[in-house]
Symmetry: C2
């Protein structure tokens, strides 16, 4: 989807619809962070981003502001915002907190799971396995996220979900980078255990599966992270443009 250039107040088409531009921008940025369109360390320029999206810096500023509030981005001394580089200690912290929070969400979800949930998760996991087979990073990350969030969503907690989203936005860029490294394993084996535990209605086992999945991912991520986060052994420039 492309945002139409809505410049020039006057004349012709494209009446300004109220209050929806920033939603597009937010969606664009969140997705961009998740699928690795932005490199850790990269500073975001209001004007550049705005130009790329065909809007004024204003909606971009609002969105960046929200993402800073969610710890997905950080401000530099000069007031710019950039994608944070995760030091190993913070990465470790992040995954420890993930285990706790997402483990709880998974357990709660398992207790409340309706009949449709299992089928839905199975379908998503099939697509995830296909993506892994094809070495398709984007779909791999996308379906993995969908798997986890669909499960957690079933907990029905309006409190946990925003916290989990904040955590995912924080490690998202690093996660993508790590998948570019050859030694990084692509693994979704824990999902099978989670699904079978869910089928049996064993909430504690579902929690255990999620915790194990997160721990495995965290260990793998830490193993490829240098002191300043994940760095690639080859050059890779920031992609300011991508389709979504």
């Amino acid at each position: 989807m492309r945002i139409d250039k809505a410049h020039s107040n006057g004349s012709d088409g494209a009446k300004r619809a109220r209050g929806h531009v920033h939603e597009h921008v937010l969606h664009y940025m969140r997705r961009g962070l998740m699928i690795g369109a932005f490199v850790p360390g990269q500073v975001m320029s209001l004007r550049k981003l705005a130009a790329g999206l065909g809007t004024s810096p204003m909606p971009v500023r609002e969105v960046l502001s929200r993402l800073v509030a969610a710890s997905a981005l950080e401000e530099t001394a000069g007031g710019s915002v950039r994608v944070p580089k995760l030091r190993p200690e913070k990465l470790s912290d992040l995954f420890a907190v993930r285990e706790m929070i997402e483990g709880t969400a998974a357990e709660s979800a398992a207790k409340k799971a309706g009949p449709g949930l299992l089928a839905e998760l199975n379908g998503i996991n099939e697509q995830l396995l296909t993506a892994i087979e094809k070495r398709d990073i984007l779909n791999c990350l996308s379906f993995n996220q969908k798997f986890h969030f669909t499960l957690y969503e079933a907990s029905g907690s309006e409190v946990l979900m925003p916290l989990i989203e904040s955590l995912w936005l924080q490690f998202g860029p690093t996660m993508y980078m790590s998948l570019l490294i050859p030694s990084m394993p692509w693994n979704a084996s824990d999902h099978k255990d989670i699904l079978s535990a869910l089928k049996d209605g064993h909430a504690a086992a579902v929690k255990k599966g999620i915790v194990h999945d997160i721990r495995t991912t965290g260990k793998a991520l830490l193993s490829v992270a240098g002191p300043d986060g994940v760095d690639l052994p080859f050059a890779r420039g920031p992609e300011l443009q991508f389709d979504y």
Copy 2:
């Protein structure tokens, strides 16, 4: 502290200092939410707030945007933002998550506690007890918050702190309202146990104390909450102005 009116681009005094107005506004709003200057359900008007603070709507918009991202405020259908009313289920959720997260933070803090922490917490608790004695709501909330956050801060987790802050901002307004209700107990008895456990270096006991403190508070809050959150038995208008 008062923010100088920095209107009118031209002429006389008050040169526009760069990029600090919104920090004042953010501080003002966060504190306002914590100390109950804003009533749950109240809608915030950009222009009113800006006029009250002597700035343009712009910095206010950015701050409100961040607070919405932190779940401290919510947007109405029309795009305005308001202080959320917490339904009992959400309140219950919130305090369950608090137990988990703050319990973990407290345990971690207890393990890393340096020698100065105990003294600092003791001092804060003294002030809290004085505030309770005087039935001074503002200082009571303020010192209670300081007690908890000082403890959690000692965990050194850059990941947990923002999450905890988000949670406190969510129940802050409701907490204040509840203290206005006569039947609501003013209690800090758990803090004594926490301090003695901390002195003995029993991290697990510190965690237990924090969890108990949170659970007690949550139960009390739930007991005075109606189906639409805490409502006062008497009228109370929103206070748009307060000193801080």
